[in-house]
Point group: C4
Amino acid sequence: MTASPTLDTAEPNPPDTGTRLSQTGRVEAFSDGVMAIAITLLVLDLKVPSDAETRGAGSLIAAMGQHWPSYLAYLAAFLTIGIIWLNHRAFVDKIRRFDSRLHWLNLALLLGIATLPFPTALLAAYLAEGGAPASTAAVVYGLLSVATALPWTLMWRHIVRHPELLEPPFDVDHARAELRRASIGPLIYVLAVPLDLFLPLAALLFYIAIAVLYAITNQGVQASTT
Amino acid sequence: MTASPTLDTAEPNPPDTGTRLSQTGRVEAFSDGVMAIAITLLVLDLKVPSDAETRGAGSLIAAMGQHWPSYLAYLAAFLTIGIIWLNHRAFVDKIRRFDSRLHWLNLALLLGIATLPFPTALLAAYLAEGGAPASTAAVVYGLLSVATALPWTLMWRHIVRHPELLEPPFDVDHARAELRRASIGPLIYVLAVPLDLFLPLAALLFYIAIAVLYAITNQGVQASTT
Amino acid sequence: MTASPTLDTAEPNPPDTGTRLSQTGRVEAFSDGVMAIAITLLVLDLKVPSDAETRGAGSLIAAMGQHWPSYLAYLAAFLTIGIIWLNHRAFVDKIRRFDSRLHWLNLALLLGIATLPFPTALLAAYLAEGGAPASTAAVVYGLLSVATALPWTLMWRHIVRHPELLEPPFDVDHARAELRRASIGPLIYVLAVPLDLFLPLAALLFYIAIAVLYAITNQGVQASTT
Amino acid sequence: MTASPTLDTAEPNPPDTGTRLSQTGRVEAFSDGVMAIAITLLVLDLKVPSDAETRGAGSLIAAMGQHWPSYLAYLAAFLTIGIIWLNHRAFVDKIRRFDSRLHWLNLALLLGIATLPFPTALLAAYLAEGGAPASTAAVVYGLLSVATALPWTLMWRHIVRHPELLEPPFDVDHARAELRRASIGPLIYVLAVPLDLFLPLAALLFYIAIAVLYAITNQGVQASTT
């Protein structure tokens, strides 16, 4: 590569009119990437029925019908990640700077999101079967939901202590209000674990319902309406 | 992490010359991510013939020839997502701000796009076989096309009612023109469903054709020509 | 959502200090996404030997050794996409605006890149075996290389005719020089097709070699050295 | 497309208020993409137990328990890529411009990261089994760790020689300090290879431990605390 400087003289320099993304800009980019990929990878669990299944069920439509839990789980997981993205976008809009702890909590959140396709696949495989395996799959989904809701609480608790991380005009009072709201999520998900155990299908519908409810009433989403 | 402030004093602060992406910037980033992933995941359905298939067909080229529907479906789906991306880019250029409803309609659009690899795989698996399974696969592809065209109509209907979401100089008259154009898409796709049912291969070629036609005549693409 | 305006009054507006990406910015983002995904999906073709293979080969290391073509093909494809990305980045730096035709040619380029994991998997599966299947796999890889090199030629030919698309200080003379260089690529790849046919392994090593050579002598990469 | 200029007159031009990303901005975007995808693809190796496995193990939970190495390897790989991303972000913040050599070293780094899901899958498949295959899998993981740590050393060595690549106020003294730190990584990973060979499980825990330790004490992460 030592020859390059000589060769380069023939080439006009591109004008450096570029702009550097802010620190939060790059957290957004990476987080958006992980969420966009996780939400799109879910489709890999929508199984195409095999020839044997189609013949066994009598028709392709009947064979697909037997996979209904995978379509329901797909919808629930897509909705969940979509809503987390909306909240994440609104969250980062309020943050001026990510410190080390916020970075780690954000990574913990992304770990939860990136792992979501796994319990979704578990539910797709075992929900229709019912019994203990369906309960196990739903509990794994439920525990991961708790683990994905928890970082929000911890992030807002950290911001309440370090309000200098907030983008003005957001202040410590706003952070306290967010912390109260963010504390409800993990609580609801913990309380839903017994439902996973005894009524796995109802639990899945419940997760869809609270996702939608959360979306409608959540400040994060509403912030973008103003 | 409480020790960090002390350790940090040794480290010069990087200059914060960064720029924050606008709200629409982040919608673009997430949507681009989902579309880029969906379009690239399609390749996973281009199956490498197994050793057994190659021996059975006499040659690798003959074995690949038996998979022609998967190559055709790959091309159709790639073209479809590519065109949606071009339109999405032109769409977001005209929007000043995403409100809550636009976010949800955009998520519905992304759900359609992210799900597209599934009916593409269905077509790849059952198109060559013909008969009822091929028709079923084509109808599923067709219904998803309707579901992916519908959010455009709803987004423009919402913007006609809230022209303050438009980036000047685009105004309510422009939005009305876009709404008229965006209403044709779902209609065409609904009318194509009987074609899916009776002539699945012709339907696939028809989808490729209208995609190309739409691309050539569409304002979205032309906007970038000016 | 009609209740939102009322609820929103409690929420301070986030300051809209955001910046909108330029048109080329979004082409970059989508293209980068497709290339980043294609380059990362390649790893899915690095097969973990099954228990049976490991026992059959005597050790895991011997079983992995039998998969050497997949590691070589992985390296070649990773290098190829990496270099295309470097060139693409340098290319977009020289473009002020994408018109409709450039968008379509860029999509054609992305189609080639996104499809590359398929012939890579073909080579991984059939290269070690030799004979006609290995030749077929190499020819498919070679033809896709032609198809991926061609859009560069067409893009520069279009820019020579529309120099107003160039970012100053780049001018039509620069575009003509780029067109000459971009015309060599497809030619080399066409000439390599007979090599694919008769010496598939040598062809793969040849692709790695010209990729490296192209990278070292290419203006695109050098532009970033200045 | 020659008809477009005529059609276009009816369309108001979108205002070009856009901003172009800087050169480092686009390296960030591509690198973030590769890291986001690699970290999210890891979930594909979290295998859903088959019906047969579940029946054989007595319950879904017991069947999942038999897959514990895949969960541990998932956690280790997720943590590793997450930390590399944090370091990469801090690294790019200090760089004013990528020259040709930095681009190639960055590609080498991305090659290591993109390949990580492969030894992770090897570990998941062979760690529980123990014996020679587990050692082989751990050594492959270890050698890839060396190969991923090495580009950091080479990048800082290059910057020490070309301090004009640094974003002020970072200077050659800072680069020298970074080079010393970046030289420790490959050394530790080389020394860990014997551990891979004789105690593969302990090696995996060791990788998790040094990742966490590195994260806590690393300048990169701390830079974002200031």
